[in-house]
């Protein structure tokens, strides 16, 4: 409970940090904050142009299919990569001022969340332009978002703390994320596969999340609620464990960073 009390006390720090993350990143560039939305769209454009050429894509509305995958994925990877270095990059602050250290990873996921929520509007615009409708299935969206938020936060609690002690973590993470991108049904559907490889998707939390996003935006299905509930339970357990590890390692941040 102490956690929430401290967090509440330092809510203004969390808020200004999120603001700094969102607005500070592209400040000075001509398009400014718009870049955080243009970037994933450009990435979508690359895949949408390239993939139908190199492999046969039978998915209907492939562009929208891609957008529903890439935008949540962008939230995930930017949070993971920024989150992993969130302590080391703020070495100056850590060494000089006391504040609850968990603010740093939390504000990374939260600013990612704000970006993602705005991006959801972009998804909806594309859905409408693509001739699809917006359906009531969107009521499941908050649940999916909550699961992803908690799951990501758990990972970066532990990664950011490890990265203080062993600097290689950020490079290893970059590699794993790269692999994970292809192990997650973002460019393709899971239906294309059969056999033991399906276990890869079953064990990959991101696969469940991306599929759930697609269910509500694109397929208009009720997402697999049993899977999501299990994932929610696992994420909550994970975030508690990772937070405890973070708190243990936190004590020597100022000396090691």
């Amino acid at each position: 409970m102490n956690f929430f009390k401290e967090l509440y006390h330092y809510r203004e720090l969390l808020k200004t940090n999120v603001k700094k993350d969102i607005r500070g990143k592209y400040k000075g560039s001509f398009l400014g904050i718009l870049w955080s939305f243009i970037n994933p769209l450009l990435q979508v454009l690359v895949y949408a142009l390239v993939f139908p050429y190199i492999m046969k894509v039978e998915t209907e509305n492939y562009l929208i299919f891609l957008i529903c995958g890439i935008i949540p994925w962008t939230w995930f990877i930017t949070s993971i990569s920024q989150g992993t270095t969130s302590i080391t990059n703020n070495a100056n602050l850590i060494k000089k001022v006391y504040f609850p250290r968990e603010i740093l990873p939390i504000s990374v996921v939260t600013s990612g969340l704000v970006n993602f929520l705005i991006s959801c509007i972009i998804i909806l615009i594309f859905v409408l332009l693509g001739g699809l409708t917006i359906s009531w299935h969107l009521i499941f969206l908050p649940l999916i978002i909550i699961v992803q938020y908690i799951f990501t936060l758990a990972l970066i609690f532990v990664l950011s703390a490890f990265n203080v002690y062993v600097k290689d973590v950020e490079y290893i993470v970059a590699f794993i994320i790269n692999m994970l991108f292809y192990a997650t049904p973002i460019l393709y559907t899971t239906e294309m596969f059969s056999g033991p490889i399906l276990w890869l998707f079953r064990l990959n939390p991101l696969a469940h999340l991306i599929n759930a996003y697609r269910d509500v935006f694109y397929v208009h299905h009720i997402p697999n609620l049993i899977n999501l509930s299990i994932l929610l339970g696992v994420s909550i357990l994970l975030v508690v464990i990772c937070y405890i590890i973070f708190k243990k390692l936190e004590k020597r941040f100022a000396e090691e960073v």
């Binding site: 006390h9 203004e12 720090l13 001022v97």
Partner: protein, 245 residues
């Protein structure tokens, strides 16, 4: 629990820092050297016992590397002792660095919010102080320009103004008395004197002994990780100068 009139209590505190010949920070270095890499520890603070009462203004003096700043960092919970206990009573603010969290692309006004929020202030509390802070900094219209356009003196003035206007019950200050031009330095000093005579508990690390003599009644001289002398400020300073001057 601390007694009501005690602001800071330090019991049997020992702090060591790891010393590496070359800090093995990458995985390869850890694997290659493994446990062969023998780490040496350097004793920074050795069994310190200290009590600071509420409302006191205390100076910490000593030569470079004697452990003054480490003691201050222990009080703020930036680092933790290897042994012993550090207890504080009341809202604590530490000014170990000016302008923590400043972002060069944002305006002075926005940075006031960033900086003050690091000290744990809420939006409402900052709103109340923002005018006083701007007035104290004497930056005028510049306050709405990005901080990167400031001169280093103006930057420090803004930072100091935020720091000094953050109400705290315990204020820890590390060598930041010399800020800006002559006029502003005097203004800062007067503000500190005002705070020192108030209810606030202040601990200052500094090498400007003359200012300390004016500000503090009590001084603690730390030498090689131990308290060499603790008592009346001018007497301690005198003794310190005899040995280390």
């Amino acid at each position: 629990m601390l007694k009501d009139n005690i602001a800071i209590k330090i019991t049997d505190v020992t702090k060591t820092f790891k010393l590496y010949s070359d800090k093995p920070n990458t995985l390869k270095e850890r694997l290659v050297r493994g446990y062969k890499n023998k780490t040496d520890y350097r004793l920074i603070l050795n069994d310190i016992n200290l009590e600071i009462k509420k409302g006191e203004t205390v100076a910490l003096i000593g030569v470079n590397g004697s452990g003054k700043s480490t003691l201050l960092k222990l009080m703020t919970k930036i680092i933790y002792p290897n042994k012993g206990k550090v207890e504080t009573n009341g809202k604590l603010t530490s000014l170990l660095e000016l302008g923590a969290g400043f972002h060069p692309d944002f305006t002075g006004r926005e940075n006031i919010y960033f900086n003050a929020s690091i000290f744990g202030l809420t939006k409402k509390e900052i709103d109340k102080r923002v005018d006083a802070i701007i007035e104290f900094s004497e930056l005028g219209d510049l306050i709405d320009s990005p901080v990167r356009t400031y001169s280093s003196g103006q930057y420090m003035r803004l930072a100091f103004s935020v720091a000094i206007n953050v109400d705290a019950e315990i204020l820890l200050i590390d060598e930041i008395l010399a800020v800006g031009d002559q006029h502003f330095q005097e203004k800062c000093f007067n503000k500190l004197e005002e705070l020192a005579s108030s209810e606030m508990t202040i601990v200052i690390v500094s090498h400007s002994l003359e200012s300390l003599k004016k500000l503090c009644k009590r001084a603690i001289w730390i030498h090689e990780g131990k308290i060499a002398m603790d008592g009346d400020c001018s007497k301690v300073v005198e003794e310190y100068l005899k040995v280390c001057g």
